[in-house]
Amino acid sequence: MAKRSVLGLYIEEDSAADALDHLRDAGFQDHEYEILTGTPYPEGTFGEAEPQHHLYRWPIFGALTGFTISLFYTSITQAAYPILTGGKPVLAIPAMMVILYELTMLGAVIFTIIGIIFESRLPRFFMGAYSEKITEGYIGVTVTTEEDRTDKAEEALKKAGIDGEIIRGWE
């Protein structure tokens, strides 16, 4: 069944937290509703579930990738065009260290950025139920559920005292 989203806007943090309580009482699961805010709030402000992520794995994987690429780059180029300098080995490890270090860090940063975007569930092509008032300080509680449960969701949102009307959107 197609999913729809409904959004209720609140001025006060407590009202938004109440809306989440009402949604839970109405049988909605944690993954069905989200809090939308214009600024970060301390975790748990609205009694919402803690979002789980694996961001910390991304830089490690990126660093390993960067290190591998830089190892190939530095060793293969030296081996392909061997210049003996002062009777020292062709593979000059102290000189390679600079490039190994930089590209390892570059890999870590690039993968971290990809990780942040991926773990943030971005890019999002359809906004669903959304209001521009959110970036003006309103707190939005959005419920994404089957079409036949939207009335129940709207009722729960209204119970907490929404500001204005319910906003509806398609997922």
Partner: protein, 471 residues
């Protein structure tokens, strides 16, 4: 930070996005003026490519001149962004909020300006690609990874890519605000695409906060490595007096921090005057950065002193001759005097006084002085050492920049200013969402008979807070 102007989210949006969504009268003339200097600089570069490096003042034995001194200078300025932004983010210093974005953006344009000059310096910039990328399979010639000229692009390139991505990620929530505020449909569409559909869910904010801290932690080691590698352009060369020094790595880093943080203070003053950000950048902010500058400047001076002590301690006659050249004859002696006076002797004593630290005009003046001095420092490191590089007196020489070099160096300054202006026209220079968070977390509390501002510390993990709902 005691000084504070409490504003609502709507007021913050209106004030901080005003110059983006409308066109200030001064903007176009300023952009045209700077663009003219940039185009003149590029024309000078075109002339140089057409006629060869003979149009510069570079000649045997001084093959590094204005371009390389300018390169080191801009790399130094670029260190401001990460120094201010990353360290203050990691320590969760409240006063970082209004200045992080501008400092980070200055890093980007300074790095781009820094990359200009060595590219121009080589005369045929496209040949640089042969040095860096292993792509010329037909000729079998590969990059020499033992050379600092491969280390440099890898370090500076890494720093540029990392800083750019850092700025973009931290910009996403503000792009969402711009998407919501834009009136024009095309503008709205562009911002909607750029913000990737950011809505401000709990998950997205959590990752934004972690991103700020994690990326700061990742970029800081890069920041340290970049200027060290730049210093090795000099320090690994055998037989050039004044360059082959073990202290060059940290000396260059602290010099970069000195000029970079000064540039941030200068930018803060300009932001107050040009963009009217007095509600956000208060005398308290100038006070804080000036205190930081005192520490940085004194540490830099200590390293400068040590560099001289260790150079002179050996009592080697070529080294002593070089130092005499740096402080004695015209124009090096007077330039050396200006360098020491402007980068330390005038600013640091002034920063000792609270009323000067809190004065935007004085801070602007002193930090401009620091950067004049720090530019001269790089010039004095590069040129005199090369003038006496050979021990045979008939091979000694001097250097004076040509008009072409002066125009190209001026272009880099105009380029950075133009880049900042164009950026500020499209994106907020003050992180709007960060300011909103700071406003929301700030409360007045009564302690005894005084009412003082208190701030809730942000970014604490979920388990820190009461989780009654989940028990």
């Amino acid at each position: 930070m005691l000084e504070h102007t409490q504003l609502t989210d709507k007021e913050l949006n209106d004030e901080l996005l005003r110059d983006i969504l409308t066109m200030p009268k001064w903007w176009l003339p300023a952009v045209l003026f700077l663009a003219t200097i940039v185009i003149t600089g590029y024309s000078a570069f075109g002339y140089m490519v057409f006629n060869g490096l003979g149009v510069t003042g570079l000649n045997r034995p001084v093959f590094w001149g204005f371009f390389i001194a300018n390169f080191v200078f801009w790399i130094g300025i670029s260190h401001a962004g990460i120094m201010i932004s990353a360290i203050l983010r990691l320590t969760q210093a409240e006063w970082r909020r209004p200045i992080t974005r501008a400092a980070e953006v200055m890093t980007l344009f300074s790095l781009a300006a820094a990359l200009h000059t060595p590219l121009f310096h080589v005369g045929r910039p496209w040949r640089v690609f042969y040095w860096i990328f292993p792509y010329d399979f037909s000729r079998g010639i590969w990059p020499n990874v033992k050379s600092p000229f491969v280390w440099d692009p890898s370090a500076v390139g890494t720093y540029l890519i990392a800083s750019t991505l850092f700025v973009i990620v931290c910009l996403i929530p503000d792009l969402a605000i711009l998407r919501d505020r834009a009136k024009n449909k095309i503008t709205k569409f562009i911002y909607a695409q750029l913000c990737l559909g950011f809505r401000g869910t709990t998950r997205q904010w959590k990752l934004q906060i972690i991103a700020g801290i994690l990326l700061s932690a990742l970029v800081l080691p890069i920041f340290v490595s970049v200027h060290t590698v730049v210093s090795w352009d000099f320090a690994v060369l055998i037989g050039t007096e004044g360059w082959r020094s073990t202290i060059f790595g940290p000396y260059f880093i602290i010099g970069a921090v000195h000029s970079g943080v000064s540039a941030v203070a200068m930018l803060m003053a300009l932001s107050v005057w040009i963009y009217g950000l007095q509600n956000y950048i208060k005398p308290d902010h100038f006070d804080a950065i000036a205190r930081l500058l005192i520490v940085v400047a004194t540490t830099w001076f200590f390293f400068f002193f040590l560099e001289w002590v260790w150079a002179m301690f050996t009592l080697e006659s070529p080294e002593i001759a070089l130092r005499e050249l740096q402080v004695g004859p015209w124009p090096w002696g007077p330039l050396f005097g200006i360098f020491v006076i402007t980068s330390f002797v005038i600013p640091v004593p002034l920063w000792m006084f609270r009323r000067f630290r809190r004065n935007a005009a004085i801070m602007f003046f002193t930090t401009i002085l620091v950067n004049i001095g720090m530019w001269l420092e790089r010039f004095l490191i590069v040129i005199p050492s090369l003038m006496r590089r050979s021990h045979l007196t008939f091979d000694w020489g001097s250097y004076s920049p040509s008009l072409i070099e002066i125009l190209i160096v001026l272009e880099t300054f105009a380029f950075v200013a133009l880049g900042m202006l164009l950026f500020a026209k499209a994106f907020p220079l003050v992180p709007v969402f960060d300011m909103k968070e700071g406003m929301r977390n700030r409360h007045l509390i009564k302690v005894g008979r005084r009412i003082i501002p208190a701030t809730i510390r942000e970014g604490l993990p979920h388990h820190y807070y009461n989780k009654e709902h989940h028990k």
